[in-house]
């Protein structure tokens, strides 16, 4: 169970998150959609404390932080979550295999053989077993992102955060990454995805959250939010995507 209440975050004068409340059940897949600058990514980054909110409370499983206890909770929240980045965030001095085993040996203190076995199993799952010795700059964007997803899964987190995982990809590479995320979403792991792929969000999500201007404007099942939006701002946003897009 994940509970988020009254999350507020500003950059100077700019108030990015204006009191976000959201509850997520274990194993749920949530997609966050909304216009650029609406605070989606900032919200996501507050959940693993890459960004520190000024106010609010987040509970993931049995761990909880509020604005007063951020500092001593950073380590815990960075470890119970995993993140897939828009620009992949692979360690560029490590090859594919090492990208997955490094956090396992360094953070989880697994021995290198156990870590390697885990990594190989996941590389098989993402279809990149043959690229295990390659360096990130030798891979396509789609392949890099699949390694990024394998690395996140290897950490076996309570929550996986996808921050616009396909936004940096060439159009022809989006498919391979989306179909992998779809596979991940059907597993019991709790997932939050920030995405601009409306059709994809509709297909894989248990719930859709529409954010605009620092607020959660509307949330519900894909049918409720995408097919029958109630709020005028949601309607306006979705109008930009023609019916054929999803």
């Amino acid at each position: 169970m994940i509970q988020i209440s009254h999350l507020n975050k500003s950059y100077g004068e700019h108030h990015v998150l204006k009191g976000i409340d959201l509850n997520i059940k274990d194993g749920e897949t949530i997609s966050i959609i909304g216009p650029s600058g609406s605070g989606k990514s900032t919200f996501l980054r507050c959940l693993n404390l890459l960004e520190e909110p000024e106010e609010g409370q987040v509970t993931i499983g049995e761990h909880q932080y509020d604005e007063k206890t951020i500092h001593k909770n950073k380590k815990v929240f960075s470890r119970i979550t995993a993140m897939v980045f828009q620009n992949y965030g692979l360690f560029s001095n490590k090859n594919v295999l090492e990208n997955i085993t490094l956090p396992l040996t360094v953070v989880k203190k697994e021995n290198s053989q156990t870590a390697k076995n885990t990594a190989l199993k996941l590389l098989e799952k993402v279809g990149l077993l043959d690229k295990q010795k390659a360096y990130p700059n030798e891979l396509s964007g789609g392949q890099q992102q699949r390694v990024g997803i394998a690395r996140a899964l290897a950490l076996n987190p309570e929550l996986i955060l996808f921050d616009e995982p396909t936004s940096a990809l060439d159009p022809e590479l989006v498919g391979e990454v989306l179909s992998l995320i779809k596979k991940v979403a059907t597993e019991k792991i709790t997932t939050i995805i920030v995405t601009h792929e409306i059709a994809f969000a509709r297909e894989i999500s248990d719930r859709i959250v529409f954010m605009d201007n620092g607020y959660i404007v509307e949330e519900g099942t894909p049918e409720e939010v995408i097919d029958h939006p109630k709020n005028p701002r949601t309607k306006q946003f979705l109008q930009r995507f023609t019916r054929n897009d999803y």
Partner: protein
């Protein structure tokens, strides 16, 4: 060029080269290795913002970049004995060169660390690593690779700077040449000869730098 000059150049070549091989090169390599260790520690203490140490490092860099190497050599070799610290010429030169090159190289490395894209450290954090773990496994290795061309500059500069050790009685190549000049009165050709030997050393080192860069290019 007269027969005599050619004679002198040939007979002096070995006399200059040998101190080069036993003083200049070891002094350069040992000082640079020590300087590099100092530089990495100094850069890390500054970037990681270790309270107290950061200011000490800034002070050290400020002092050693802001004063001439020659003056530093003289203070360590001729100055410190008057407060009871006696250091032999070669250790004194090693200390001065290490501290001097360390100050410059620390800024090179610090700059490279700061130039690593923020995603790299964010990815380390998101994978659960502490700042120190991320620094040692991901950020510093990348930063050191980026630093190689600039560090090679410092290294080659150091090869030539070791000639200053002649001023504190180290009989390295330049001092030997000066003595030969005093004996033969052929300053032009002998100084050209020692310049040529320095050039050969630096060329060889530049070649090594290229090899090293190629080897370490993976992944970047």
């Amino acid at each position: 060029m007269s027969q005599r000059v050619i004679q002198i150049l040939i007979s002096s070549f070995g006399k200059i080269l040998i101190p080069g091989l036993i003083y200049t090169i070891p002094l350069t390599i040992v000082s640079f290795a020590l300087g590099l260790c100092i530089a990495i520690v100094t850069a890390l203490l500054q970037v990681m913002n270790v309270p107290g140490f950061k200011q000490i490092c800034q002070f050290y860099v400020w002092v050693f970049r802001g004063t001439p190497l020659m003056v530093q050599l003289f203070i360590i070799f001729y100055g410190l004995p008057s407060v009871g610290i006696m250091i032999n010429a070669i250790p004194a030169a090693t200390i001065a060169f290490s501290l001097n090159v360390g100050a410059y190289a620390s800024e090179t490395i610090r700059g490279s660390i700061l130039s690593i894209p923020r995603t790299q450290s964010e990815a380390c954090y998101a994978c659960g690593m502490t700042r120190t773990q991320g620094m040692f496994h991901v950020i510093l290795p990348q930063a050191l690779r980026i630093s190689i061309p600039a560090l090679s500059n410092s290294f080659i500069a150091l090869v030539k700077d070791t000639s200053l050790a002649a001023n504190i009685t180290v009989t390295e190549m330049f001092m030997v040449t000066q003595r030969l000049v005093a004996l033969t009165y052929e300053p032009l050709f002998l100084y050209l000869e020692v310049a040529f030997i320095y050039l050969v050393f630096c060329t060889a080192l530049t070649y090594l730098q290229k090899v090293l860069e190629k080897r370490l290019k993976v992944g970047i």
